[in-house]
Amino acid sequence: MTIFLSSLGFGLVTASVLAIASVGFTLQFGVTDVLNLAYGAIMIAGAFVAYVVNQAGLSVWIGLLAAVAVCSAGSVLLNSAVYTPFQRRGTSPITMVIVSLGMTLIIEFSVQALAGGTSVSYAMGSGKTLRAGGLVLTVVQIVVIALSVLVMAGVHGLLRYSKLGKAMRATAANKTLARNCGIRTGRVITITWALTGALCGLAGVVFAIDAGSFDATATDIFLVLILAAVFLGGPGQAYGAMLGAVVIGIATEVSAAYITADYKYVIAFVALLVMLGVRPTGLLGARQ
């Protein structure tokens, strides 16, 4: 039971990181119809921005703010300078994926060129270890979980109650119609990328915090977890991404306790492939 509970604790942390990342990814897809596979690369770029700030002597949490800013701007740039021009040309979705893979290579290996190939870590303490029931979590881990819950609440509030959120949902549902209703879809899209880019940066830093040590290629596998969570919940569905993140995050960590840790990601992969094969619109998506 203790093994289960402690792995549950890990699962909650992973789910938290995954939730922040997946919601950002799925909203980008919802509003732009592009699977931005460069998302993982931008995450790790954010992680390194925070690292640089951290190495300069400042706290990681300040670095986190810097990462959020940089990734937000970077994502807006990525969409307006790369994805939008291609889409305006009528590029097919498959070619867009290839473009995003190209951008992944550019971003990820630019980071690697600058940072080198060795793994690094943040200079931070993990804080006290707290126990509750059988759960064992450090303060930092609890902060991560709390951040995630805050972000989820914020996204929920944004989408449900704010005018911008409604505009985002409308644009995601039918861009032309939204535009004809007077919604400035161009601006909505830019703001969406700015917000999701911020989430991406945040996700990158908390990922790095959770991972302990990381290098430029650390998010390669994590991107698969994101995809699994997104497709489990339904691409474009923010609540689906949250649900998917919880399921995938907990499932991978709990399974690691019972089968060899090396294979813990296998569950995520299998879930993703099964969803793609059986129900590509996801659990919360509309049935085609």
Partner: protein, 679 residues
């Protein structure tokens, strides 16, 4: 220096082979296989474990399955076979239902997953460390280090690459290859024309997998090691970059891409001076950045690649004997499965054209493409040719026909059923029937409990205001969309569960409302792609080569020529269909559907956005087709068109059938009038 050159040649052969396989999948067939590297890896591992001794040999420091020490060429053959077999489980990802980019992501993820599994599960293939001391082919008989052996190895590798190139070229330049390209350009339309997408994609996955596997086997036998680091998912991206830059869909482009990217790139960076001041990882990282840049830049500036796909120029048939082709180039298919027996009419009876106003001179300005005016008015009577082979034409003014000689087969050369005589009326047998058909989209009911019949030989109209559910109903009749409940019967047979391509093969063919030509095929290729019974339109047929299928192909070209001349577009035969004007493309679509030898046509707004003269001309053609026994259900908006051509007409509104009858009858009914004014 020699060794360096040999090295280069072998890598060139291996990469060229891999790129050819990828280009065939991606460039020709439109199957985006982001897991491509898995197949090369599988081939490599297979060749290794087939050639290596049992894993206790060499001190037992490796652990792996297999190890049967088989002699050359069995490891390479095994590599190709396994590469092909491994493709089979992937077919579920590339089946019809999944969006292209989703499928691509699934394949990418699979590549990462398999790499992870092999890395972590050591007993399988020695995990992260990989396999080493893989025996070179024939190393018992020859010295693998000798120059002669190395040259021989390179020669064999290059020969195999050449063989792959020739084989793929044979496949691609056949009618089967044309179907692959059609599927790539517009898979839903290809499906509706009778192409079995799943079977085509599976074949391409297996073929590409086998080629990739072979390339892996050759590589592994040369470098004598193989580990997961050599086949990360990023290697697939490199191959994609090579194919895109060289030119997707062009086999020579694939070879060029292989030389430029995997080979050229490596070599260029070899000459960059290394210095200790630079971080050790810099050059490899920048290599990857450069590949990413190349991909994005090329896709932006020159997506067709350095060697774009060639246009296939096909000569039109010369003096086309009308015997087999008939007036419309459309031959009623022998419908063995039909309940009612056909009364075959001997060709000698031919020639009698039901001149129902079709021959009256069409305004030649309306002829799209500005073809010779005579051609437009001419061939209604059966495309009869006189002794010199020139088409005999009725006078455009009076519509008189020249004497038929009877022997050259008049309208619709093949069998003609009695339905031609019973052109309309309730006694005609039922061609297509919808029984209680319902379609829901989430919470919305688009089509509710629709039942009606379409009688053979009629040109039935289906009208209704926007949102009435007409196109949805048509899609369900054609099989492009599944029904939520209800049944669809075609000539007495329940086809409700039948996929679209099978319905097309039965003779139920549809057209589409929006642009649906195969853009990167020429007009003539568009028409030829629809032909249902070409011997070259199967993998086996393609492999057997031109001699096997050229007769069927010539016959198809004849039919296509007649149809093109009929519609006045023969000048555009070798233009890309995507380059034509809207009205012309509409004609191409109609001609193409006729080439499919339909027994029944489902037309989705064929006149939409078409010049009124052209619309009338199309209407006249359709009426003439029906008088020959064709059945047509036409969805349309314009009441004027319904007035002129359709009888009977079905009215839909808000998902249900409102009324049925002739236009005059319908005009008198208030609910129909209201539906159009209000709905």
């Amino acid at each position: 220096m020699n060794f360096y050159l040999i090295n280069l040649l072998i890598y060139a052969a291996v990469d060229a082979m891999a790129c050819l396989g990828l280009s065939q999948q991606f460039g020709v067939a439109g199957v985006t296989n982001f897991g491509f590297i898995i197949f090369q890896a599988a081939g490599g591992y297979t060749a290794a474990i087939l050639a290596m001794p049992h894993d206790t040999a060499n001190g037992g420091f490796q652990s792996y399955i297999g190890g049967w020490g088989l002699p050359f060429p069995l490891p390479w053959i095994g590599a190709a076979v396994v590469g092909g077999l491994i493709a089979l489980p992937f077919t579920f990802l590339v089946g019809r239902r999944l969006r292209g980019d989703f499928a691509a992501v699934g394949l990418l993820v699979t590549a990462v997953l398999l790499n992870l599994l092999v890395t972590n599960y050591r007993p399988l293939l020695n995990g992260d460390a990989g396999l080493s001391i893989i025996p070179a082919p024939l190393q018992g008989e020859f010295n693998p280090q000798s120059a002669g052996y190395e040259w021989g190895f390179a020669a064999v590798g290059l020969a195999l690459a050449l063989g792959v190139y020739l084989f793929l070229r044979r496949i691609t330049e056949s009618p089967y290859g044309r179907s692959l390209r059609a599927m790539r350009d517009n898979d839903i339309v290809a499906d509706s024309l009778g192409k079995n997408l799943l079977s085509l994609r599976t074949a391409m996955l297996v073929l590409g997998g086998a080629i990739a596997g072979l390339s892996g086997g050759i590589l592994v036998s040369y470098i004598s090691t193989w580990s997961p680091a050599a086949w990360g998912y990023a290697e697939t991206v490199v191959l994609f970059a090579a194919v895109i830059i060289g030119g997707a869909g062009n086999h020579r482009g694939a070879i060029l891409g292989a030389i430029l990217v995997p080979v050229g790139f490596e070599e260029v960076t070899r000459f960059i001076p290394t210095s200790n001041n630079l971080p050790p990882n810099l050059i490899p990282s920048l290599q990857w950045v450069a590949i990413g840049l190349l991909i994005v830049v090329f896709l932006w500036l020159r997506p067709q690649g350095i060697f774009p796909e060639r246009k296939r120029v096909i000569g039109l048939a010369g003096a086309a004997p009308a015997g087999r082709a008939g007036a419309w180039g459309w031959r009623r298919r022998a419908l063995a499965e039909e309940a009612r027996p056909e009364t075959p009419v001997a060709d000698g009876d031919g020639g009698a054209a039901p001149a129902d106003g079709v021959t009256a001179g069409w305004p030649s300005s309306a002829v799209a493409g500005g073809a010779a005016p005579e051609a437009g008015a001419a061939d209604s009577t059966g495309g009869q040719r006189d002794a010199s082979g020139a088409p005999r034409r009725p006078s455009p003014l009076t519509g008189e026909e020249p004497e038929g000689d009877g022997g050259t087969g008049g309208l619709g050369g093949g069998t003609r059923s009695q339905a031609a005589v019973v052109a309309d009326g309730e006694d005609a047998p039922v061609g297509l029937e919808a029984v209680g058909v319902v379609r829901d989209f989430g919470g919305m009911r688009a089509v509710s409990d629709v039942s009606f019949q379409v009688r053979q030989g009629t040109l039935t109209g289906l009208i209704g205001p926007n949102g009435a559910g007409k196109s949805t109903l048509l899609a369900m009749l054609a099989g492009t969309l599944p029904v939520s409940s209800g049944r669809i019967m075609y000539r007495g047979q329940d086809i409700t569960g039948m996929p679209a391509f099978r319905r097309a093969r039965l003779g139920l063919v549809r057209t589409f409302q929006l642009a649906s030509e195969f853009k990167r095929l020429t007009v003539l290729e568009n028409l030829l792609s629809a032909v249902p019974a070409n011997r070259g339109d199967s993998f086996r047929g393609a492999v057997l080569g031109k001699r096997y299928w050229k007769d069927d192909e010539s016959a198809a070209i004849e039919r296509a020529t007649v149809i093109l001349e009929r519609f006045g577009l023969e000048k555009f035969a070798n233009h890309y269909a995507g380059d034509l004007s809207g009205g012309q493309r509409r004609l191409v679509e109609i001609m193409r559907s006729l080439m499919a030898e339909p027994g029944m046509l489902l037309l989705d707004e064929p006149m939409a956005g078409v010049h009124p003269h052209l619309a009338r001309r199309i209407g006249n053609e359709l009426v003439a087709l029906c008088s020959e026994g064709m059945t047509i259900l036409m969805v349309e908006h314009e009441l004027a068109i319904m007035d002129e051509f359709c009888d009977p007409v079905v009215v839909m509104a808000e998902g249900a059938v409102l009324a049925e009858g002739t236009m005059e009858q319908l005009r008198g009914r208030s609910e129909v009038v209201e539906a159009y004014l209000v709905g």
